[in-house]
Symmetry: C2
Subunit: 207 residues, 2 copies
């Protein structure tokens, strides 16, 4: 696309900014910017300022490192939750996904990524040291590792496992197996094999 | 989706704002907001302020109503363009598309929409009166109607044609026919029929 097509540098600038976002091409960016242009000044102010304020004022919970409005997030400060169980996740999206299942009543620990030498992310770049301290100094009885089943996820799981082993707390990982609603014949062999090895008592699995 | 899933009201607010944009669902909105959160404060400021400034400072060219940084846009103020020919388009995107073809050296007139009773848009909501004044008071020799080939586009074409008829200037419409690269057998019958009626001299069409 040639540059001279934009009849206004303000327009061009806004399109350029939108097109920096992942998955937004220049055509989509133009469409979104023209949509904003049709909204009232107040509405566009609200849009722009929501992003600016988010970035400027966001706080990370000093216990679990989830994003928060307060120094300690609403999950960590919720007295009715089980503070003995800590679920380790890669990022804040995973906290949301697990919260949406409404199956977990413990606390979280957000690593802020997983160990990935290809991307230059080592253990020191993640909240692993703070997890170890949290376990050592706190009342934690069980750490649940809920990372992706990828090479990087497994590496991170193993690294954390080794770091926490001396503390003698219970370390578990989320169940891997055939997804609910999936047919056996379409499952991959590794998953199917694991699901047989890690089989559970019938009554238990259906409660 | 339940509301309590967001651990921060700043995050929730930013996601809500993004999700107002057309074609952006809540999942995409969250992905985009988390991407912004990873950028530097300066970069997010630049993003937000680009939208706010665009809406606040944008100017519409007083001649053609295209968006512009100046009172008269760079197309209308360009002395090397043919000011005798005015191409009527629906919106500013159409100006960009036609400019990209590099086939038109005249000026534009942006209606700001087309007549659409279903959407409650009548002639008075569009820049039709200003087009008539522009033709009556100016030096215009030809008006090219470049609206969509829809019912609304045809209605608008006809309305403008009737308004301009007394001025006795030349009124043309862009050619309708088989698109370049299209095969005859896949063209619709109306288009194919029109392309035969409006056939052009062979040499002419290839120059």
């Amino acid at each position: 696309m040639i540059q001279q097509q934009y009849s206004s540098s303000l327009l061009e600038n806004a399109v350029n900014e939108f097109a920096k976002l992942p998955g937004i091409g220049r055509k989509t960016a133009l469409r979104l910017v023209l949509y904003l242009l049709k909204q009232s000044e107040n509405e566009v102010d609200a849009f722009g300022n929501a992003m600016i304020r988010l970035r400027k004022e966001i706080v990370y919970c000093r216990v679990c490192h989830n994003i928060s409005d307060t120094e300690v997030c609403h999950i960590c400060s919720n007295q009715s939750r089980d503070s003995l169980t800590v679920c380790v996740v890669e990022n804040i999206k995973d906290v949301m996904f697990i919260e949406n299942t409404q199956q977990f009543k413990g606390l979280y620990h957000v690593l802020g990524g997983i160990i990935s030498p290809m991307d230059g992310i080592g253990p020191a770049d993640l909240e692993i040291e703070s997890l170890v301290n949290r376990v050592k100094t706190g009342d934690v009885k069980e750490v649940i590792l809920a990372l992706s089943t990828t090479m990087e996820g497994d590496t991170t799981n193993f690294y954390i496992f080794r770091k926490l082993a001396p503390t003698n707390i219970k370390i578990t990982t989320i169940a891997r197996g055939i997804a609910i609603g999936d047919e056996i014949e379409y499952a991959d062999e590794v998953t199917l094999g694991r699901s047989i090895l890690n089989r559970v008592e019938f009554t238990n699995s259906f409660k």
